[in-house]
């Protein structure tokens, strides 16, 4: 079937038509070829995602007014369709609070539209000024839960499994009042229970926010919101699970004390040194980024300064916002991408193995193209199913005042960017050719990637200041794909950090199940692989966190493959 209005094939007809149209191009052999066409269309309004995400005052007098909020994909009702969660801020006029924006949970009807079930589910955000979101089955009861980080007390929505949630943040011990930002669940001490890292930005009170005045001189031509320099960095938190649905603060004990008081934003757990346990990366605004290497037993060592992942190639601290992890050069070693402030490039750190990185922003052709925009949420994912990780960046300035000074070449609303991987870790910006979805100009922040319509391509959910979200449906001309769904029995540490490696025509690709990443957002936990024109995968190997593996061979493509960990 084809929806002629949308020009889009449904899942049922997809594989047959795909094979009829493609010429054989094995994944990973696209080096230096022109990228496949990218085409994205914003269907948020038509799909029913209309909630405006508030962001303080129009003038953005305080940094909280312009930090924005995150988005998440999750399947809270386990019906096989990704639902969406969006975090909201407050709307202010001067020092008056006009509206405490409600977060939104959109249930996926399975037909490309969503139903707002926020009130029914009880996940509106408790009136807090929201920041980020992380999703995980923290209590291991088989239902995915939602952590909302806030300016104020965090909210932990426990999924009751009947379509409703309850806030258990206080009982769980994770309220951590402050300006909380990025968060990642992961099993840090390999005890079978998910632990939690929450980054924090600056120390500020509500009085500071509502009473803020723009006092920072911007290029000698205007006054803009003050900070973060001049403001005290807030301490990040690491919570160790007690195994009973509660947590205890173990920041110091774990060696994760935020001694530099970094202005923390994006976080991402992954096994960067391939030693079988999960490490953690934290992007800090205007400070050295942290790389916490897992030493085992719930202890970490901060190795950012000498691993090559704290600074850019010149040794300069950048204004880290969002984080993406992928394998851009297909060497099976995780690479890092960190978005940064305007007039500074975003940084691609190529993994060199054993937890070391090198700044390849210039070599990859990303550096120059990302210099002018102010960048936030980001995703490394195979958007055209050609077998390599492409790159998406959400952009938008924090100072509306820049529009009054066009000679500096910056605008408050900015277009988001998409870069095609040319197959060897080199990228080509294709934003202009990526359809109307990438022609939108907003002040965007969070990006969550997920195949919400289960049609075998990765769609994008993007938040923007004072706007409804954008839902960029991926209508790119597609090749073959495989999406791997990993499932772990209760009490075995969950699925986060599980790594899947596939082998297609002698080439291997790797993905891991993430928590955190992007900017304040959470991606589809299913692992998406582009296969080129291959119709099957020779081998799928799942590396579970406990060191065991599951292997499947001769796997047919163009489908969701569920792999359960043996108890």
């Amino acid at each position: 079937m084809m929806d002629r209005q949308k020009g889009r094939w449904t899942l049922a007809a997809f594989p047959i038509l795909l094979f009829a149209q493609c010429t054989p191009v094995p994944p990973g052999e696209a080096t230096n070829l022109e990228p496949t066409a990218f085409h994205f269309v914003d269907v948020a309004a038509a799909a029913g995602m209309t909630r405006v995400l508030h962001a303080g005052r129009p003038g953005k007098d305080h940094l909280l007014d312009s930090a924005g909020t995150g988005a998440a994909w999750l399947d809270y009702d386990r019906d096989g369709h990704l639902d969406a969660y969006l975090v909201n801020g407050w709307k202010l006029a001067g020092n008056v609070v006009l509206e405490k924006g409600s977060n939104a949970l959109y249930r996926n009807r399975g037909d490309g539209t969503f139903e707002d079930v926020t009130e029914l589910a009880g996940v509106g955000g408790e009136g807090a000024w929201g920041s980020g979101v992380a999703v995980a089955d923290y209590d291991d009861d088989g239902w995915v839960d939602i952590l909302v980080t806030n300016f104020g007390a965090n909210v932990l929505y426990r999924n009751r499994g009947d379509g409703t949630f309850e806030n258990v943040a206080r009982e769980a011990g994770v309220e951590a009042v402050g300006w909380n930002t990025g968060a990642s669940f992961f099993d840090a001490d390999a005890d079978g229970h998910l632990d939690l890292y929450i980054a924090a930005y600056i120390e500020a009170t509500l009085d500071d926010v509502v009473g803020a005045e723009r006092t920072l001189d911007w290029k000698g031509v205007d006054s803009v919101a003050f900070g973060p320099f001049g403001l005290t960095g807030a301490l990040d938190h690491f919570f160790l699970s007690n195994g009973d649905g509660t947590f205890r603060d173990a920041t110091d004990r774990a060696g994760m004390r935020d001694r530099a008081r970094g202005y923390g934003f994006g976080t991402r757990a992954a096994d960067f040194d391939a030693d079988g346990d999960l490490d953690l990366y934290v992007a800090n605004d205007s400070d050295a980024n942290y790389l916490y290497r897992n030493e085992g037993g719930g202890k970490f060592k901060e190795t950012g300064l000498w691993s090559g992942a704290a600074f850019d190639a010149n040794g300069a601290a950048q204004a880290g916002m969002g984080v993406a992890v992928g394998d851009v050069n297909r060497d099976l070693v995780p690479d890092l991408f960190v978005t940064n402030f305007a007039e500074d490039f975003s940084t691609l750190y190529i993994g060199e193995g054993r937890g070391f990185f090198r700044d390849a922003s210039d070599d990859s052709a990303i550096g120059a193209a990302t210099f002018l925009p102010l960048s936030w949420g980001t995703v490394l994912s195979d958007l055209d199913n050609d077998g390599d990780d492409d790159l998406v960046i959400a952009n938008g300035h924090i100072y509306p005042q820049v529009d009054d000074h066009p000679r500096f070449g910056m605008t408050y609303v900015q277009r988001n960017q998409v870069f095609a991987n040319l197959g060897n870790g080199h990228f080509k910006e294709v934003s202009d050719q990526a359809g109307p979805g990438f022609a939108l100009a907003r002040s965007s922040r969070g990006v969550a990637a997920g195949d919400y319509d289960n049609d075998g391509d990765v769609d994008l959910l993007i938040t923007s200041l004072d706007e409804p979200p954008a839902l960029l449906r991926n209508d790119s001309s597609l090749r073959s794909w495989l999406s791997v769904v990993c499932r772990v029995p209760a009490g075995q540490g969950g699925v986060i950090g599980t790594r899947v490696e596939i082998e297609v025509g002698g080439r291997r690709m790797s993905r891991d199940v993430s928590s955190g990443g992007s900017f304040l957002s959470a991606h589809d936990p299913r692992l998406h692989f582009g296969l080129g024109s291959a119709d099957h995968v020779d081998r799928v190997t799942v590396h579970w966190l406990d060191g065991t593996t599951s292997i499947e061979t001769g796997v047919r493509g163009n489908r969701f493959l569920v792999i359960d960990k043996r108890p």
């Binding site: 001049g230 300064l305 000498w306 090559g308 010149n314």
Partner: protein, 184 residues
Amino acid sequence: MKKTLLVAICFLVLTAIPAQAQMNDTETPRPLVDAYDSLADTILAAKKTEWNLVHSILASTYGHAEAVMNSAMTKLEAAGDASADVEKLAALVAQMGNEGDASIAAVRKRLLEGGHHHNAKGEEQGIYDEGFVIVTRASKKVFLDSATRIGKLGSSASKDALTGEWDTVKKEFRKLHAGTPLGM
């Protein structure tokens, strides 16, 4: 605290100025000038003290690194496992590049929050990172690059490779050591 002290000094000085002296002269009263001059000594001395302190931090880190380097070499000569020392050396060299560890960075940030830039002019010229006192951007890069290379040596470190990197560190440190505080 400082503000209160300054106000108290000014009050005492002003009350000590004879009314006649104030009436006959448009110049700033001498006692005020003297007080300000004295305060200037304190301010400038504080800057010098800051330089000395940061220099001590660097020297201490370098000394620590040197001891770790020697320990690593001893282990390598005995065909032992020097990987822990090598990693510690990498961390210490990186700290030299960052002009101290994370705790020092927090202090530096606090000073910046208060508007204090030790090398304001040098920062404008791109010579120093914000708040840095001694380590130039160029030196920072040398230390950081060397730290990463040392870290990568890990358990496969050889005496020659380690010595080569240490020579780089030593040379850069001596260069800084020989430097004089800017503007003093």
